[in-house]
Symmetry: D2
Subunit: 314 residues, 4 copies
């Protein structure tokens, strides 16, 4: 039987409103530090097209690293499996902004969902153009996925990151030394910071994730990616989507997800749901404290998990 999502969402909203441990808002990007940590939103799109929302589901937030999922999808569309010559597919065993691994592995980042890997993906997506061309392409891709042309960049956030993004500048320069960043570093970072500063609501984000729920299909018709590619992106989200807490997320929640330091998480139940949650406070691993908890509750109530026999819905 299909779980009663309206009731479950209402329950989660109530529970999360009372949660005391809400994490800390990302302080290293000044513009993000201003966000009110009391907010929480959730949006679920099901395979049959229903949309269930709760809380601040229509408030825009900075998607930050969740953009790495869409950037990866675009890069695979451009260069296909050649991408894997420049980025690995393994969990990193390190923090999201670690540079140690790059030294040990000759400038090849471990996966496309840590900062270093996403910077290489951004370099691929630049393709010899100016950042504004690449950013325009990314926005058009999101407009298409969400069927919503209002998605845009928060320029204040982009400026804030540009002014303080020294660790990302270190990563980009380091990989440039190994020729694994090939455009001028400032262009790559300009593109990267703008992509991270895209603002979306939970509702929009859940819509954007539908193709990963549907084996690559766009619900409006046609294919975004092949079934194999959709599966593989889901696999990367599960093994690498939560930085060095990916194993814990798989253990506790059990579905592919990608978090961002803006406090959002996009999570996918293949064949069943595309889910977005958002709450700005982060836990020690840099993932949304309340968002993670909400997804754990949701998985418990619905039985959604890629590690159990499929829920029979009738």
């Amino acid at each position: 039987m299909m779980p009663d999502l309206d009731a479950i969402v209402a329950d989660i909203i109530a529970t999360m409103a009372q949660a005391e441990e809400r994490g800390a808002v990302a302080a290293y990007i000044p513009e993000l530090a201003k966000v009110d940590p009391a907010q929480f939103g959730i949006a679920i799109v099901t395979a049959d097209g229903r949309m269930i929302t709760g809380g601040d589901a229509d408030t825009g937030f900075s998607i930050q690293s969740i953009s790495k999922v869409f950037a990866l999808t675009l890069a695979l569309g451009k260069v296909g499996d050649q991408l894997w010559e420049r980025v690995g597919r393994e969990p990193s065993g390190n923090a999201f902004n670690s540079i140690t691994q790059l030294e040990h592995e000759q400038g090849i980042p471990r996966n496309p969902f840590i900062n270093a890997g996403a910077i290489v993906v951004t370099d691929v997506n630049l393709g010899g153009h100016q950042p504004r061309v690449a950013i325009g392409e990314m926005l058009r891709f999101l407009h298409y996925l969400c069927e919503d042309d209002s998605i845009a960049i928060n320029e204040a956030v982009a400026a804030s990151e540009t002014a303080t993004g020294f660790r990302n500048a270190a990563l980009a320069n380091y990989m440039r030394a190994f020729d694994n960043v090939r455009h001028p570093v400032d262009l790559v970072l300009g593109s990267y910071f703008h992509q991270c500063a895209i603002e979306m609501s939970c509702r929009q984000l859940a819509l954007a994730g539908r193709f990963l729920m549907l084996d690559g299909r766009h619900p409006g018709g046609g294919r975004v990616v092949s079934p194999r590619r959709a599966r593989r992106i889901n696999a990367l989200m599960l093994t690498c989507g939560h930085y060095d807490a990916s194993g814990d997320f798989a253990f506790r929640v059990g579905i592919p997800g990608k978090s961002g330091v803006g406090g959002g998480i996009l999570a996918i139940v293949p064949g069943s749901a595309s889910i977005a949650v958002w709450s700005p406070g982060l836990n020690a691993s840099g993932n949304s404290q309340i968002g993670t908890q909400a997804l754990e509750e949701l998985a418990r109530h619905t039985g959604w998990s890629v590690f159990s026999p499929p829920v029979v819905e009738d």
Copy 2:
């Protein structure tokens, strides 16, 4: 429609017989180095109880690290979630026998499926008894899971590992210094090496994995573990089951699996199948070369993947 497993298995057997790159047999355990690398076996048990086999499916081999799945199951039965105070749940980002991470993280291994983690699990399972008691318990557990009392230890392999297992002795002593190994090191290692030296065939191994396919149920009736625990063990297999190639296995094959340096892999399709493959040659990451390839083929032909919508079977 249910895939025609007999035809698929026959096809895989034929393909693998012709594979030229077969990997290298583990050389660091002298007794394993003697095994004929040309062998390949496969066994699939489905949720409805069918058994499909191919190749050397009834030849016994050393299960090695696959035993870590069963040892973990036993330890969780003994101490429950307290286990996670002594072992992490994250992919390691290092080789299976790495000691570096232990130094950085104060003697707490990253997960129960790398050697250090499995040694802690073994320490838990000893529970103040002699190794033969713990080993006896493990064998009885496997006899129950497989409904087959013939499963036993290959004493020559156990002796071979005891004589050469210096890196494991280093790991155990290192964790003893942090009080994360609590029995005398030689008892813990004695138990660990015997557990690794258990010999099973693909047929037996596939039978042993059924409870992970069935959300924790024993097909003969009753529960082995709770549904939540079964899901969580599957999650750990997916994120950590192939050492530092776990991400790649999830990407290419897309189902939870646990490999051993004896060349075996146990793989689980929740709700659909428990699969065992075996071929002794290992790839650079220490996982069966041909076994991995066979599982990739199997997943491709059947559509089995935890990252795509469930296959509708009728």
Copy 3:
């Protein structure tokens, strides 16, 4: 008895001319890669003011990291022991351009003679001014030490490093993230690359090192630094002056020295001699192959070593 330095130098020139293993010229700075590797020069200034030279002792070369000794001396003059809050005094155990250590130690480089440490020293020396001010000060300091106003920067080398110095840019940005670089990164690197591109001959470099031989005194009168500071700079040269081959240099040669990837080495025998050698080919650790060998020969012939009873000279 004072060793016959003329004869010893003649002997060394002859031996080095025949050396077959001459190392490889630094390839990562394009301008340096053009230098003829067959060259070798040596200059020795004794405490009583004699100058003994041999080979290409008057050919200018890029002093590169040897500039770190003079930059450190200037920085200590500006901020004294406060410098040690921002830079350590320990050998690094890593390559000269490693970034791993910075991650483990929160942006504090291990010593002022690896690149990261020298970048912090450069940041201190900038003191809120433009790079040309800091560079001007450095050149005036060298003019004073050598009593020679002809010392200048090779602008082609500076430009070459600026265009390719991505690893140094990574280091500087990384430390900027920890607020251990405080001026804009491009200004710090501009100053750093120009300082490395100073061109000096062996004769000039040996003259510049006299204050370290003379417990801080300028042979022309007055003090460059206090005796204690001179001793301490010599100590840092001995423990950290040859990157991750510093221990080997102390073991084989036994006197404080600082090498540069231009192939020069400045070496100090306290109370006895200031020595400069130069040959462009580098060994695997990034130190002059022939230069190191020449200093080992010189130490053997003269008995100069800080680790043996002083040579009685009459």
Copy 4:
């Protein structure tokens, strides 16, 4: 003018008696944790044979890692420079008991003065014999150096280390896996722990170090080692003698030294003095807090430093 050592020593004794920050006694070896931290002793032997002592100069203490100097001397006597195929000569950049570096460098320890390196040296000194043979040889060597047959092992300390030395057991087993420990691990550790448990007073230790002050000569006549070997051992003491605080000791004190976790330090002024200090409390790097401070005072008062022009004595 020769410094007035009697007055200087009296002054140091008075100063150190009032020092408030005295460090913490090594807690990881239970038997050492019992030692009274208020004790302090000093003994200086000069090149002309004078002995100046102060405080608890005749109280025996566990020499611990200072034994590594004598073990190295014996091993070089047995296998000469072949030793350097199995042990490096570089500062480690890590704690004394770190295992990380061994993994990165294939079981070759960085130098003979960290635990891993000393274990290899012990393995060399075993030479196929039982530990008691090697230990007997070591004791006879110390009897000869000190002209004092009373030096012996504190068996309670040896037993205490054997019972708790798990990190050393980890190091030994790890190197055994790389064939860089070649005798059974328990024999090597038995020998190693007994060697560390040798008990000496400051007076005895200063006498034992005389050959390193005298370019290898025994003051009673004959040679202990060649001048070149004496210099090289001094060089290793300077670059590696204080674990990961070796650079700081060279910077602050400026003479070769080797510390032990028993609180002793042996320090050598080539041509001038062999010095032993002892106070049980350790600083954060594992070196005697008061002992280091006393040597810094001594160096300041006497002008002794290998990094300044030799003190003219008349």
